[in-house]
């Protein structure tokens, strides 16, 4: 059996392991669900301030609660996309289990992908809860094709995963102080239009600062998903963010894999693979 055939079994092994570890901290899960419900409820009341808001420029923001909930749900997923890969390595290093995992016939990229699989399962659940609580308790309606929204979600997550691979490479060599995490973590929430329309950045912060949002993949992903889910647009009307994401993926994927390969070789040469 080659590595590719064994990949699903190995990913399954990591998901089951992480699930077991997760349920061994039941309180954590319960509190997370409660906190999501708390955030959705808070946003519902804040959204009531904007009842009757009809500015034509911000068509995605006619129902601010729907915009915030899609923003938070998608941001949660995106953050997992770029942070879970580096976190997977870091966590195994800190637990001291990376060495024993790497003693099995499994390569490092598989370890990283498989160790982050549970994070995506979790992110899917929690992202769904944002949307579900909005729909179930506060009458938020979603229109358009869920499949097309899913395509955007996957595409954007892949682009962010490329940045995640760069982040993991950084963690492997420098151990701490990952600049990608800082840049994307704070940048996505502020510049991607999670809580407010990106057009406001141009109006209030000037064109130079607002250009930051144009280099963030999450801006295009979120824009595409909102256009589909909230405005009910079809594929022909979302080609611009779609093509931008494809170009980003085409450029970042080979580059990030190249950097990752170099980082692994360096760590093995220095014998620092398991240090943190």
């Amino acid at each position: 059996m080659n590595s590719l055939k064994l990949l699903p079994r190995r990913i399954y092994a990591f998901v089951v392991r992480d699930f077991r570890l997760f349920v061994s901290y039941r309180m954590q899960f319960f509190l997370r669900v409660v906190s999501i419900l708390g955030v959705v409820t808070t946003l519902f009341f804040i959204s009531k301030i904007f009842v009757g808001f009809t500015d034509a420029r911000f068509s995605q923001w006619r129902d601010p609660l729907a915009a915030w909930l899609t923003g938070l749900a998608v941001l949660n997923y995106f953050m997992t996309g770029f942070s879970s890969l580096a976190n997977a390595i870091r966590q195994e290093q800190m637990q001291g289990t990376l060495e024993s995992v790497l003693l099995t016939p499994i390569n490092l990229p598989t370890v990283i992908v498989a160790s982050s699989a549970w994070d995506f399962v979790q992110a899917t659940l929690f992202s769904f809860l944002y949307l579900f609580f909005g729909w179930f308790f506060f009458n938020v309606h979603y229109a358009g094709s869920f499949m097309l929204a899913l395509v955007f979600l996957i595409l954007t997550t892949l682009v962010l995963a490329c940045l995640g691979i760069l982040s993991a490479s950084f963690a492997m060599v420098f151990k701490r102080g990952d600049p990608f995490g800082i840049f994307l973590g704070t940048g996505s929430a502020l510049f991607s239009g999670v809580f407010f329309p990106t057009q406001l950045l141009t109006e209030y912060a000037g064109p130079r600062l607002s250009s930051v949002s144009k280099v963030l993949p999450s801006t295009y992903g979120l824009d595409g998903i909102r256009r589909v889910l909230l405005e009910g647009r079809g594929f022909a009307e979302v080609t611009e963010p779609f093509v931008t994401l494809i170009i980003m993926l085409g450029a970042l994927l080979p580059f990030s894999l190249w950097v990752f390969g170099r980082a692994v070789r360096r760590a093995k040469r220095e014998g620092s693979l398991i240090q943190y």
């Binding site: 059996m1 080659n2 590595s3 064994l6 079994r9 190995r10 399954y12 092994a13 089951v16 392991r17 077991r20 570890l21 061994s24 637990q95 001291g96 289990t97 060495e99 024993s100 995992v101 790497l102 003693l103 099995t104 016939p105 499994i106 390569n107 060599v173 070789r265 093995k268 040469r269 220095e270 014998g271 620092s272 693979l273 398991i274």
Partner: protein, 356 residues
Amino acid sequence: MQPSVPLNPHRDSALPSNAPIDTGSAGPAISIRQLSKTYPVPFARLKALLRRKTKAPVEALRDVSFDVFRGEIFGLIGRNGAGKTTLTKIVATLVQPTVGTVAVNGFDSVRDDEKVRMQVGLSGAEERSFYWRLTSEQNLIFFARLYGLGDRLAKQRIATLFAQLELEEVRRKRFGELSTGNKQRLAVARALLPNPPVLLLDEPTRSLDPLAASRMRELIKTLARQDPPVTILFTSHNLAEVETLCSRVAIISAGEIRAIDSPTNLRSINSDAEVVRLTITGLSLERVEAILNPHFDQLQVVAGETVTHISFTRRSGDDRLDEAIRKIHEGGGTIQRAESERPTLLDVLESYEAQK
């Protein structure tokens, strides 16, 4: 532990792929050639550019070459920091050599690292290498899946290993709740999970009680004797254990292999002198001294209540012992007890360390 039962009679059928290459019964299972490892200083050039002080690169291994043959229990002894762990990690593909090669059953540790890992099981002394909130069984199932074992086969294998290593009682206990000895045994169980033809054991009896340690040694011997045999690279600070188990021993000091041979030969190469102790009756202290002193220098004679103890040094093959026995008998004495003490591996190790 029940070492009489073969652990892996069906080794290859259980493995997902990369079945071990049969290199012939006499072929080396581990072949190490001109291996050197220097840990570089991270970002040395950048630090030099910034004129920051840097430590010197650490030379952990220097020109190490030896073979470990199939079914052999090969001991690696040396002081802390001598290079044992680095060597073991290179064999296990966790660290890349700077120069030289390591082949395990014909697979190169750098080029074919995944195939090498199918051949090798490593049991280290690191407690943190398990998931503390998972049970013993859950931990092993996780690692079995990484080896590509199906769940049914994995559970069968784990049950066998738990029985052989006397771990059944802690099957459902979280790893964090296990005693140090059980953690150690679980590490050995994990190393044996894929039925590896090569086993790297780093102090496998360190935290075990004397009885459990003895059973572990029996298990190790059984593994090396079974068909097909398991090749074992064994590191330990317990030199008596190394002498008991290993057919050959390498002494490593400051990254260099100083000697490789059987424990018996190592002792005799280092010094063929032995101390002979005789307990005699029927002769007084003065009489013994009168008989033996003219013929033996450095003779020590101590009078007991009813016996006299003598000790002297001889070289193997000389006739000093024969002569002593003859003189005692001629003088009317009887030898009650005779003992000889040869240099231990500790003496050998100390002598190599002193030569540094």
